[in-house]
């Protein structure tokens, strides 16, 4: 039954709930696939076969007893980014400092998945503490892009996107602080959604940048992402920044969009996201996508968001500032790595030496940047100015959304690059997120949906759709319509594999 790994989550759910296949065999098929290919891909840091099969058997027992499934996704297995806590199951955040740590509690997202009967296959690889765009910053080695094992799968959630593209899992959870769901989705030809800030609880999401972090659904289709979105979203009293509002009807929106009619929808093309730094094939793919949206009946207009140009520098002040504080707790006192505790070092020295050994270069770089940006005498010039830019970007979005229902742009300026290509050039690496960061700064919803392969290198390109806060359903309507018109992209990976 290896075919099970080629089905969408919606198809699998249907078969499991009608008893055509069992959740256990579905889960086992994916575990087998992981065993077969993950040596090459390295999407997973930890595989929890027993836990996943046990959850699957519970679903099967319920189906056999004629009970209603716990959720529309009950029995469909999933890959969970290793930045969300799982009680008693390792959670490393891709960092050496948390090697061996067994969290005493489940993240709210984890809990909701368990309650929904979703078997968790394991924890996926990521850039350390979600800082990076390639997973090369993982302390446990990089993940490779199934489209080309010498290329990056995006980051920080490269493990989650690669697990989908490699058919190791039909669903995955990512987290997106500056593009960590959308950029990996774009470069692996999968779907990734950053919900409205506060739409999905952050409780148990190990914080990188609290005001930007947002967990979200990843899948191979827009409908699958929508189904997962509804499982994990909703108000959580454990997260003060969680939005206390009904979850947008994203599944309905995806189904409506799939009918292929976008008449009455106004789409804005962001003028600032083109030109220098954008690969020709990416821009051509984007133009084709815009033309397809028109064919679907959408009205397309160009809009200007002048302050988006400052999004990247503002992000690289706010995110490091918050991370310098969020990561202060990794001090060897209560959990995680502890070095130099040999009786000859003071507590302060143990803290300092542990942090020196436990954190990788990129994490240290950002902690130092943030510490500097928050220091007395520099705060106003750096953190304060960045917050002002953030307000201006939010206003740009507000003005644009007075004219249009959604905004579109390429998700990333370039197709996936080679491992090692940008690892010594942080600024080049940071530019990967130039299109995705504004939505994080403003707290909007945004999606990346595959928009074919670049005509110059045959590598995946993503179309980014952005919607106002709490209007996540618009992403799914437009995304599903475009997906239906564009046709599957990931299938070409199968053709490529077959051709090898």
């Amino acid at each position: 039954m290896s075919d099970l790994t080629r089905l969408t989550a919606a198809e699998l759910a249907d078969k499991i709930h009608t008893g055509e296949v069992s959740a256990a065999e579905t889960t086992q098929a994916h575990l087998d696939r992981i065993a077969a290919v993950d040596g090459d891909v390295h999407a997973f840091l930890h595989v929890d076969a027993e836990g996943a099969l046990e959850a699957a058997r519970t679903v099967d027992a319920a189906v056999a007893a004629g009970e209603r499934p716990a959720s529309p996704l009950a029995g469909v297995p999933l890959a969970l980014k290793d930045v969300l806590t799982t009680k008693g199951v390792p959670t490393t955040c891709g960092s050496k400092t948390l090697e061996g740590w067994l969290p005493p509690y489940d993240a709210t997202v984890t809990r909701r998945l368990r309650e929904a009967g979703v078997p968790i296959l394991g924890k996926t690889n990521m850039d350390e503490f979600a800082m990076g765009s390639s997973t090369e910053n993982s302390a446990y080695g990089p993940t490779r892009n199934p489209w080309d094992l010498d290329r990056i799968p995006g980051g920080s959630g490269g493990g989650s996107s690669a697990s989908l593209a490699a058919y190791e899992a039909p669903l995955a959870i990512g987290t997106d602080t500056g593009g960590s769901i959308r950029q990996p989705a774009a470069v692996t030809a999968t779907v990734g959604v950053k919900p409205t800030y506060g739409g999905v609880s952050r409780y148990g999401l190990v914080a990188f940048s609290s005001s930007l972090d947002q967990a979200g659904p990843c899948g191979r289709t827009v409908l699958d992402a929508a189904l997962l979105h509804e499982v994990i979203a909703g108000h959580d009293p454990m997260d003060a920044t969680s939005v206390d509002a009904p979850v947008p009807a994203v599944v309905d929106a995806a189904r409506e969009g799939a009918r292929g009619d976008l008449s009455g929808v106004t789409v804005g093309v962001v003028r600032e996201f083109s030109g220098e730094g954008y690969q020709g094939g990416v821009l051509r793919s984007f133009e084709t996508a815009v033309a397809q949206l028109k064919e679907l009946g959408a009205e397309v207009v160009e809009v200007s968001c002048p302050h988006f140009t400052y999004a990247l520098p503002a992000y690289y002040l706010i995110a490091p500032s918050e991370c310098s504080s969020n990561l202060a707790r990794f001090d060897a006192m209560r959990y995680g790595l502890r070095v130099a505790d040999d009786g000859s070092h003071s507590a302060e020295e143990v803290m300092s030496l542990t942090r020196e050994e436990g954190f990788g270069a990129e994490v240290k770089r950002r902690v130092m940047l943030g510490t500097y940006a928050l220091s007395s005498g520099y705060y106003d010039a750096y953190y304060g100015s960045a917050q002002k830019v953030r307000t201006l970007i939010t206003r740009d979005f507000a003005a644009a959304f007075e004219q249009v229902d959604v905004l579109v742009s390429p998700t990333t300026p370039v197709t996936p690059f080679k491992l090692g290509e940008k690892v010594d050039d942080p600024l080049a690496m940071y530019l990967n997120d130039i299109c995705s960061i504004p939505a994080n700064l403003a707290g909007n919803a945004a999606m990346s949906v595959p928009s074919g392969l670049s005509d110059e290198d045959g590598l995946p390109v993503g179309l980014q759709i952005m919607a106002p806060a709490l209007a996540d359903d618009r992403l799914y309507r437009v995304g599903a319509a475009y997906e239906a018109a564009r046709g599957p992209v990931l299938d070409k990976l199968g053709e490529l594999e077959a051709a090898k």
């Binding site: 190990v206 009293p237 918050e322 928050l374 220091s375 705060y379």
Partner: protein, 501 residues
């Protein structure tokens, strides 16, 4: 470690310098749960039993503000005549210390919930001093470190340290005064009176245990001196570890005499944190930091701003009880007390007890007499606070009632109270068990009187001869014979009746 510090004579200090005080008081709120999580907020407990992922700063855990703590903060602000912010945020105060689980303290920085208030403080002689309040803000407490080994009990030189996070995340309100100037020689007394007033206020509001000995009320005293007549403040020191009201006064006084000696000698004060030493009333320098701590404050992104509606604030204003000192003033007027009588009441902590005893039916004079005198002595000899002695105001009122009706003499009444304090039951049960009822049966008393008169015929003659005061000897004999259970006044009457005087 001990170095002899020259101190200036206090009279000379206040002749040459003007002290400036700044008092920072931390109050642990007595909410059921901690500031940002659902763990119980209670003193003590086995180490690390009142903890959860949130207050341990576990990766991924997030804070949620305790609404009751915000309510208490607003009420405290209102009681201190502060403005209440329409919109304010928490901030992170970043520094590394092992007893702080996140290595930042969630506090308020430039947006306190309450600001610009004042409190009127009554000194021992009745003078009223207004202390201006800069701000009152919310924050969380840290855990506790126990440093094992080493001489000082501090982290420096310890062999190892133990950490208890039960206190981590307990809600705190920090109340900061504006500089208190112009107090002259009374500055130490003002400091004590201010902290006393705060304690009484917070106790009356039932928002904190305000136990300085347990750390639920902590005072840091900032002290500086400037030459008489100057207007520019001198360099200050901040004295911590001040664990009683008396220590507040001693610490301020000590710092004044220490500063003055250094300044008079041409030296300069080092801005530093000092620790009060209870044993000898001096202060010792804390560990000096080579560089000023930069806390890198920024708004706490895990919490949303707090915007108390004006309706809510006004509703809370209605819950502020009468200020303790206003209540005292009212009681003084109602009961027609002299300043001295009022001071006795306040100093013994008897005011609420007397009021409750009056409410239970006793006259205020009797109630006051019992609590301020006999019961206060008993509290002292039993080494307990007056409020903690094992008798209720209602029981005291019952004893007073029995004395009033003549069923108990004062002497017997004290024995009844002793019985209650010893746990023998309520007053009536003690009377029953100990057989302490007054002998009010005249025939029984007459027999005793006759017997006593017969035993001392010369005294009987003296009384008959008009020396009425000689009856005292017979009264004494009768009281002895009845084991004190007779009413002495009645015995006297019977004696006079018997001898026909």
């Amino acid at each position: 470690m001990t170095t002899t510090v020259e101190l200036m004579d206090y009279a000379e200090v206040v002749e040459r310098y003007d002290p400036v005080l700044g008092l920072e008081v931390h109050v642990e709120l007595s909410t059921n749960t901690k500031m940002f999580c659902g763990c119980p907020n209670s003193f003590g407990g086995d180490p690390n039993t009142h903890v959860c992922p949130v207050c341990l700063g576990m990766p991924g855990a997030l804070p949620v503000v305790n609404g009751t703590a915000v309510e208490s903060a607003i009420r405290i602000g209102l009681a201190l005549n502060c403005d209440i912010a329409e919109w304010c945020r928490f901030a992170r105060k970043n520094y590394f210390y092992p007893d702080m689980p996140k290595n930042f303290q969630t506090s308020q920085y430039d947006e306190p919930i309450a600001f610009d208030g004042h409190i009127d403080v009554v000194l021992d002689d009745g003078e009223v001093v207004r202390v201006d309040i800069e701000r009152a803000h919310m924050e969380e407490d840290t855990g506790k470190s126990l440093h094992v080994g080493g001489a000082t009990g501090r982290i420096h030189g310890a062999e190892h340290s133990l950490l208890d996070y039960n206190r981590a995340g307990v809600p705190l309100i920090e109340i900061v005064t504006k500089p208190i100037t112009g107090m002259g020689e009374r500055a130490p007394e003002v400091a004590r009176a201010y902290v006393t007033a705060l304690r009484d206020l917070l106790r009356a509001m039932d928002v904190s245990d305000v136990r300085m000995d347990q750390g639920s009320l902590r005072c840091d005293a900032n002290v500086s001196l400037m030459p008489k007549g100057a207007s520019e403040f001198g360099t200050r020191t901040e004295t911590k570890n001040v664990n009683s009201l008396r220590s507040v006064e001693r610490a301020v006084r000590h710092e004044m005499t220490r500063h003055a000696a250094i300044l008079a000698d041409g030296g300069s004060i080092k801005q530093e944190t000092r620790h009060f030493q209870e044993a000898d009333g001096t202060t010792a320098a804390g560990r000096t930091k080579e560089t000023a701590e930069d806390y890198r404050y920024f708004p706490e992104p895990d919490l949303v701003p707090i915007a108390p509606t004006r309706e809510w604030v006004e509703q809370l204003r209605g819950t502020i009880p009468e200020m303790p000192w206003e209540r005292r003033k009212r009681i003084q007027d109602d009961w027609n007390l002299t300043d001295e009588e009022l001071r006795d009441l306040v100093n013994t902590g008897a005011i609420d007890l007397v009021a409750a005893t009056v409410d239970a039916g006793a006259s205020q004079a009797d109630a006051r007499s019992w609590w301020v005198q006999y019961l206060n002595q008993q509290a002292t000899s039993r080494d307990t606070e007056l409020a903690d002695v094992a008798i209720t105001p209602a029981q005291v009122a019952r004893v007073i009632e029995l004395v009033g009706s003549g069923e108990l003499t004062n002497k017997l009444a004290r024995q009844v109270v002793d019985g209650v304090l010893d746990g023998e039951g309520d007053p009536d049960q003690v009377i029953e068990k100990r057989g302490l009822k007054v002998v009010s049966d005249d025939s029984a008393l007459l027999a005793a009187v006759d017997e006593a008169l017969a035993a001392q015929p010369d005294v009987a003659d003296k009384i008959r001869g008009g020396k009425v005061q000689a009856a005292g000897a017979i009264v004494g004999a009768v009281m002895k014979a009845t084991k004190g259970q007779a009413d002495a006044a009645r015995v006297r009457e019977l004696i006079l009746e018997r001898v026909g005087a």
